[in-house]
Symmetry: C2
Subunit: 663 residues, 2 copies
């Protein structure tokens, strides 16, 4: 798949001949035009609710339906101020705006553009909300704000103006909040010669920026006399287009209009950092697309899923390195086997090339490696490779509960791994008993948020398969979260599946696997839940580790974690990004935490953990989140709550009512 | 109906013989006892999730099912701290609490009491929420807090401690908020020798105080040696019991236990201000009971409703006084009739006692009074009385659209008002044309929130029936609101009708008529929408009043009003109390605004206007509410939005999606 291409539009402040304007723009390689809905000549003195409707704008016959619905963005009259302090003005402007909106309704425009000029948008938001309630096929609403409030020039200190309600980000954010972050409402940023700080620009990347307006006045001429942008502006344009913004050229034409669009195409083509990260090409098309997490314990994975995961270019390399190190460590310090020898009772799928007695062999030089949840065998392969590299003699026992995968494994044993000591045991690792016990157990049971595919429960259940002193790969993992702003992800979660309110609450109490793109981190990631393997038992009141009836550690995988962050910039919190990192063995790690992400590893997208009520947060405030990992006899689930100052969200997913992982 | 009686309980800190304790309490005239769920002797060192369950409390055989389910409030063990900083303590105490809750589940206790000792109740609230999710017939939860945090004695300034998170009200309020103001969760106030300020006590009246605990230590002995309370404590007890709190006597018995309960009964019986206000007895049983507002324009009222409203001891007196004043004014300054005489076309139900020519009589001494929406005739009666008192000659034309009421009116004309000049015109006042026109029109079309039964639309529609310069009674009215705290009303609105989330949003976008009792005013009432009659037309851009095709004023009954209040005390806002006042004529008013309520007038309960997301408000903050009165061709509706600081509620009732008044 190729990168999304740049899409350019041309803005007209007046269109005496709409058809001619559109033709000119298309000939100059623009994809669409932005034009006033109402011809300025027809500016109405007043409008009454007396049923009088005049010819306040052009006929709908002048463009083809195709052009109306794909090539024209309509601008509402700029002088309309429906939040005026003056009741009479407010009411008349409201009537005018409704007239323009209802005219557009008949045309099916792709988008309607309006301008925000302050945070006072109560009535405007109400009218737009009413438009969406009333209209069966409404247009997108594009709310235009300047990137910098140039009326604020007198304020020297950038930090101060940022806090202020005079900041255009705040105008937009309040407007969008008033519309409950409706995903049909986006923001249009109008660039100016001066640009705000990087921190403020970054915050915009969390907003649904549908287009940037580039005034011709901020271009300057290069040596050859062609219009060009400063480096900072070029970078901003590229960054925004990467985030799926379109570009609108606006203002007086000092050059052939074609030059501007040619230049924009050129800087887009020449942009640096064109993906060599496998994740970028792998994730293309999945940006901000919400998926329900897999439940590989309760459900069996399908062939397609195995196919995707086995292609990870990094993960199995890391496992192979970790297994190799573990094998070398055991060569130096073998584990004394104190267990008595018995025959494996349920070894039904062993390689016929190997003598039956091998199953019982326990000479010191053979290291027993159990692959728990072997799937179709990638970790068996990694173990065999590691054994070859380290010149170890290994016996591999591959345990797998999915019957389809077991068939593949058996075929691999017969065909690919012939001559190697590999045994396949069908069954659930929590419920089988095998001898000899393993020196090393290898598993890959982690979800996007670490323990959310029940790795702790599976590995604790399988603890009896490991020799005392044996090695678990992975040996530890931790989930991480960061508070994020993302109207897009939140709105997507809110309406996912059915869109009813009942469903909404459910969807906002669920973890979503998603390649997050249109989001902004409010603060750094922090640790949540940690697990170690082999796990240690709970301590009793005398400080002794407790054991269960099998003599294995009595673990408690319930967890509570309270995490706090200080807010550095005014923002709106919509939930959390969730990640994990994992120590396989010694210094061999895998991670999807952004700051330490294993380069090129594609097996996991992060999770988005929404909150039901977005929280407006201010610089200096503290966000405190508490997460619970809860367990009953048949399932595991998370609950969470967030506090900012004296505001608190409801408790999410109480008693696992909306989302759970089945044991 | 009589006032609710006092219900007293007796608290035991230890119950070696539960049956004996209960018997003793009942014999001493207590209605119930409060006792620990777990016998303190059985205090557990630790509890594991290993499935071990011991005999940690008494058998359920010792009381009858009847006693368990009505006479015993269970107290959870006081040492449990499920929000401990220490993870191990937290987890063990959580296990213990769940054990106690699940033991209670089997017993069906009416209530379970637990104590709040700080604002840290995240985990406690989570466990209670989970209990409610899990349990089919859960008990009430009674959360006990001290009325004064005695640990705060060092803080001299009452105002400071009030702001502080060390304030027990805040502990309770946060806990209840975390439970989404669940109506099954109430608060128990433990009295102390010192009492907080009146302002703080008042705030408690908005909370669901289920009981007050009166320690025996705050009684002192009177001259005869019997236990008595200070005057301030007596008043507090009475006030709380009036708000449906029960009373629990607690602590060491320095007297025969019967003396305490006898004393409490006595101060209740002797309480001052025992209702002579007709409203109090009329409203008994309707406290905090939500009703959908009537739509008398769209629906016809039934006999029962007429019966109730006609019994108002005050309203028609006020009308009569206003009509009398208007008649006197017109006797002095009659309106010159410039209209040409025509015959009333649709006068079909005139009193046969009156000569046909009377219908056309227009001699100056006769004043034409039209009663618009005459119902079964109370305003006709008031007009006749006013004419008698002022010695005026009146012609009354009674217009009524409800056919059932028309029948009653016609019967009254025949039987009661024989000899008087009364004509009944069936029809909708907005759509009939009558001659001669009226000198006075009298109507009673107001709802609890003034214009919410469409009085403006009806009277504007009937404007053609009034002579230029004629008098409308009422001549002006205004709606009022005050922000209120009321978990009870909010929770009732949330679950009203069906209790699903879809319904919930609808219910929280609706005005509710309710006799509000368990609420606290956060700030004073302020004006919202005003209307005058006869109405004036909108002004055009040259400042001229506009008229419609009939030459009548072209009115615009849409309204926007923005109202602000400063918060005087930390609180949680759940919505508004809505009221109206109305100028009938000159200084004759009717009002249901609390500060000016017409004494004894029972026709209207106020409205409760909820907000979807309760807002925690702090002393010094500004609450800003905007209300819109919206109109389309077939209906009228309200929308509203509330802002506090940078927090904003969603827009309520966008496009009238949840509630509307049909035209």
């Amino acid at each position: 798949m190729s990168q999304p291409d740049i899409s350019c539009g041309l803005e007209f402040s007046i269109t005496s001949d709409l058809q001619a304007c559109l033709t000119q723009a298309l000939h100059s390689n623009f994809s669409f035009i932005v034009a006033p809905i109402v011809h300025p000549r027809f500016r109405r003195q007043h409008v009454l609710n007396s049923g009088k409707v005049g010819g306040f704008t052009r006929s709908d016959m002048i463009l083809s339906p195709q052009d109306w619905t794909s090539r024209l963005v309509g601008k509402v009259s700029p002088y309309l101020n429906v939040d005026s302090e003056v009741s009479l003005v407010r009411q008349r402007h409201e009537d005018c705006l409704n007239e323009e909106l209802s005219y557009c309704r008949g045309l099916g425009l792709p988008a309607i553009m309006l301008s925000l000029t302050s945070q006072k948008t109560n009535n405007l938001a109400r009218i737009i909300q009413s438009y969406y309630e009333n209209c069966h096929h409404p247009s997108l609403i594009w709310a235009r704000v300047p990137l910098l409030n140039t009326n604020l020039r007198t304020v020297a200190n950038d930090e101060d103006s940022e806090l202020s309600s005079n900041e255009p980000w705040f105008w937009w954010s309040k407007f969008h909040e008033r519309l409950d972050y409706d995903k049909r409402v986006g923001v249009i940023l109008e660039l100016s010669a001066d640009l705000p700080s990087q921190k403020m620009l970054k915050r915009w990347l969390g907003e649904p920026v549908k287009a940037i307006v580039v005034p011709t006045s901020i271009f300057h001429n290069n040596k050859k006399g062609y219009p060009v942008l400063s480096r900072a502006h070029q970078e901003l344009v590229v960054r925004m287009v990467e985030h799926e913004a379109q570009v609108i050229v606006s203002g007086a034409r000092r050059h052939n209009i074609e030059y501007y669009v040619q230049y924009l195409y050129r800087i887009w083509k020449r942009r640096p950092n064109q993906a060599d990260d496998p994740m970028l090409s792998y994730a293309r098309g999945w940006e901000d697309y919400l998926q329900i997490p897999l439940q590989p314990l309760a459900d069996n994975l399908d062939t397609h899923t195995y196919n995707v995961f086995e292609k990870d270019p990094i993960k199995y390399d890391q496992y192979q390195k970790a297994i190799a190190k573990a094998l070398l460590a055991l060569q130096k310090n073998p584990i004394l086997n104190l267990e008595q020898k018995t025959v494996i009772g349920n070894c039904i799928l062993k390689n016929e090339q190997i003598d039956q007695s091998d199953c019982n062999s326990d000479d010191k030089s053979t290291i027993t490696v159990m692959v728990l949840g072997a799937g179709r065998g990638p970790l068996v392969r990694a173990t065999l490779n590691a054994a070859d590299i380290t010149n170890s003699k290994v016996k591999i026992i591959a345990v797998e509960k999915n019957p389809c995968a077991v068939v593949v494994l058996a075929a691999q044993v017969r065909e690919v791994w012939r001559g190697r000591d590999v045994v396949v045991i069908p069954g659930d690792m929590r419920h089988i008993n095998l001898t000899p016990k393993a020196d090393i157990i290898v598993s890959e049971l982690l979800g996007s948020w670490g323990d959310n595919e029940l790795s702790p429960e599976c590995l604790d259940g399988a603890a009896g398969l490991l020799k005392p002193g044996g090695i678990s790969i992975p040996c530890a993992y931790t989930s991480h979260v960061a508070p994020i702003s993302s109207p897009r992800l939140w709105a997507a979660a809110k309406v996912a599946v059915s869109g009813t309110s009942v469903q909404k609450d459910k969807n906002l109490e669920t973890l979503w696997v998603v390649y997050m793109q249109n989001k902004h981190d409010i603060a750094d990631t922090k640790l949540v839940f940690s697990f170690e393997h082999p796990a240690r038992g709970q301590k009793d009141h005398e400080g002794q580790e407790m054991t269960d009836y099998r003599g294995l550690p009595l673990t408690d995988n319930r967890r509570t974690a309270t995490v706090s962050w200080t807010v550095e910039q005014d923002n709106v919190m919509h939930g959390f990004g969730g990640y994990f990192d994992c120590k396989l063995y010694e210094d061999e790690m895998i991670s999807i935490v952004p700051s330490t992400h294993s380069p090129g590893m594609i097996s996991w997208f992060p999770v988005f953990i929404p909150i039901k009520t977005p929280l407006r947060v201010h610089k200096g405030e503290t966000i405190t989140a508490t997460f619970w990992r809860c367990i009953d006899t048949r399932r595991v689930w998370y609950e969470w709550i967030v506090e900012v100052g004296n505001r608190v969200t409801p408790l999410h997913n109480c008693n696992g009512r909306s989302s759970e992982m089945l044991l």
